[in-house]
Amino acid sequence: MSANQALIAYTLRLADNALILAQRMVELVAAEPELEEELANANFALDFIGQARMFYTYAGELEGQGRSEDDFAFMRDEREFGNLLLLEQPNGHFGDALVRQFLFEAFYLHLLEALMRCSDQRLCEIAARAIKEVKYHFRHSSHWLVRLGDGTELSHNRAQTSLDDAWRYTGEMFTADEIDTAMQENFDGPDLASIHELWRRDIATVVVEATLQLPDDQWMASGGKQGRHSEHLGFLLAEMQYLQRSFPGATW
């Protein structure tokens, strides 16, 4: 795999993470527990779609075959999506969706910080813009985890279960494959091992404040980055891609 191919694949993974999470968040519109949370959820989803668009557009330019953001989002099959498994998991209840957000954002923040220092100018720029958004997302999800954990007995138990259930999907964030390695070697990209330490430190601080327990390391699911997904992604894509697939070539 050439350095350019690795860069394209890596950029598409970043785009897929942002888009698939946003699509799950969009499913929550008009179902939030409070009006203020409707505004927050829509706002954060807008940020993620915006990031996905920047990453897809850049991947298309790198590839040089005229593929647009919509070609990547709507015309690829699930095997071609490289998002993390965590992000495609169904929303569940408020605590499940929140923990998914929290675990990913803690990771994504450090990833973006590392990308701001990589040698690819364009990724640096996108990361610099995205990190401003993800900082306040993480503040929001951290605050909510503390409220749930240190709220009622019911909310505490639910938050703990959400955390325990999501934990198995955190492993693949930090397992470097050839694309991660190529990105690190050729473009001075993120070192996942050191991000893992920072991530653990950050989430532990919040989890302790929330009076919750960090789950023990256990068996970890993997494969999302390589396009081996859970059963959930196919349905998500079928819904999201429906119009583009039903009317190929139409302009919307």
């Binding site: 888009l19 699509q23 969009v26 499913e27 519109v29 008009a30 179902a31 939030e32 527990p33 409070e34 009006l35 203020e36 409707e38 505004l39 829509a42 706002n43 989803a45 807008l46 779609i49 915006g50 996905a52 668009r53 897809y56 953001e69 919509d70 989002a73 709507f74 209840h93 408020f94 605590g95 503390v146 409220r147 749930l148 240190d150 709220g151 009622t152 019911l154 909310s155 639910r158 819904e239 999201m240 429906y242 119009l243 583009q244 009317f247 139409a250 302009t251 919307w252």
Partner: protein, 328 residues
């Protein structure tokens, strides 16, 4: 997005302190185009009319998120998805300002939400229709937001200050919503035959319900006179409806779409489009709860509210713990 409550008066009961002097002084302020502010004296019926109208408007914004939300996960491009999501978010924001404006009249948001969920409070009938194709999203922006703007621009001059000020911001955003709807329609109408058919089908379904948004004919509108005198309402239902038809028919022509009304014609003498009779029974049925989606819309709201109860309780419990920790 829209209120249909412009005609509804509060109850007629007047409390003892409402002397003729107070009432006429109040009316003089209204006639002098002064804004009435939350701490000012106001007749109870004025307060209740406004509470009902503003809360109904807020509920309409919140319920209105659903028909459009129905296409958020299926929006046909990332750009359209972003625009639609921003629009739906604006509606949540409008709901928030409007609940706040109503709270200045002495009613709590919790009470207003409870009234919506119990079915006591109404919201605009238009949101009880289903969004069946992507073109419905265009049509809602074009017609429903277009009709809302006709109604809401005069509300920027409403006599009650907080409502008038909220409407200034709401109207700016609605105008953007209307343009995005028209842009979707314009794109579809320049597209394939299937896309044009989609656009025409949506217009056929939404045209008459949009005309109903202005409420009953003036001759049937019982409470308009009082709302006009209080300058809560500035134009009659029929005046606004006519203005909407005059503007919209030309836009439909431009798009190459046919307005589904065999009686529609341009009247040279008056300079207005004349249109056929509205099926009022349909409007009354939908308002009475018998529209295609009434049950579904309210059920979704109730479910969101009850599913979120444990989250709101957790936030409250945490806030109380924090308060007692700070006090300790």
């Amino acid at each position: 997005m829209y209120t249909q409550g412009l005609d509804q008066a509060g109850t007629d009961e007047q409390i003892a302190v409402e002397t003729d002097e107070l009432l006429s002084a109040f009316q003089e302020r209204i006639d002098a185009e002064e804004k009435i502010e939350p701490k000012d004296w106001m007749p109870e019926a004025y307060r209740r009319t406004l509470i009902r109208q503003i809360s109904q408007h807020a509920h309409s914004e919140i319920i209105g998120m659903q028909p459009e939300g129905n296409w958020l996960t299926r929006a046909p491009s990332l750009k359209r998805k972003v625009i639609l999501l921003a629009k739906v978010q604006d509606e949540a924001g409008h709901g928030l300002y409007l609940y706040s404006a109503a709270e200045t009249l002495g009613v709590s948001r919790a009470q207003m939400v409870a009234d919506l969920l119990s079915g006591k409070a109404k919201y605009s009938s238009i949101f009880n229709y289903p969004t069946l194709t992507w073109a419905d999203i265009g049509t809602i922006g074009w017609l429903v937001d277009g009709a809302a703007i006709m109604n809401q621009i005069p509300l920027c001059r409403c006599s009650y200050g907080p409502y008038a000020r909220a409407m200034v911001r709401v109207c700016k955003e609605e105008s953007f919503h209307q343009r995005q709807g028209f842009d979707i329609m314009h794109t579809l109408c320049r597209g394939s035959d299937e896309q044009k058919a989609m656009a025409q089908g949506a217009l056929n379904r939404w045209w008459w319900p949009s005309l109903m948004m202005f409420g009953p004919n003036d001759s049937e509108s019982k409470h308009s006179a009082q709302s006009m005198a209080w300058k809560i309402k500035r134009f009659s239902n029929d005046e606004l409806r006519q203005k909407f038809v005059d503007a919209t028919v030309q836009q439909a022509d431009f798009l190459g779409l046919r307005v589904p009304d065999d009686e529609l014609r341009f009247d040279e003498d008056s300079g207005h489009y004349r249109f056929g009779e509205i099926d009022w029974q349909e409007l009354f049925d939908v308002i009475a709860g018998n529209g295609p989606c009434n049950k579904q819309r309210l059920e979704k709201r109730r479910q969101a509210h009850s599913n979120g109860a444990w989250v709101r309780e957790a936030a409250q419990a945490y806030a109380s713990k924090q308060a007692s920790r700070a006090a300790a």
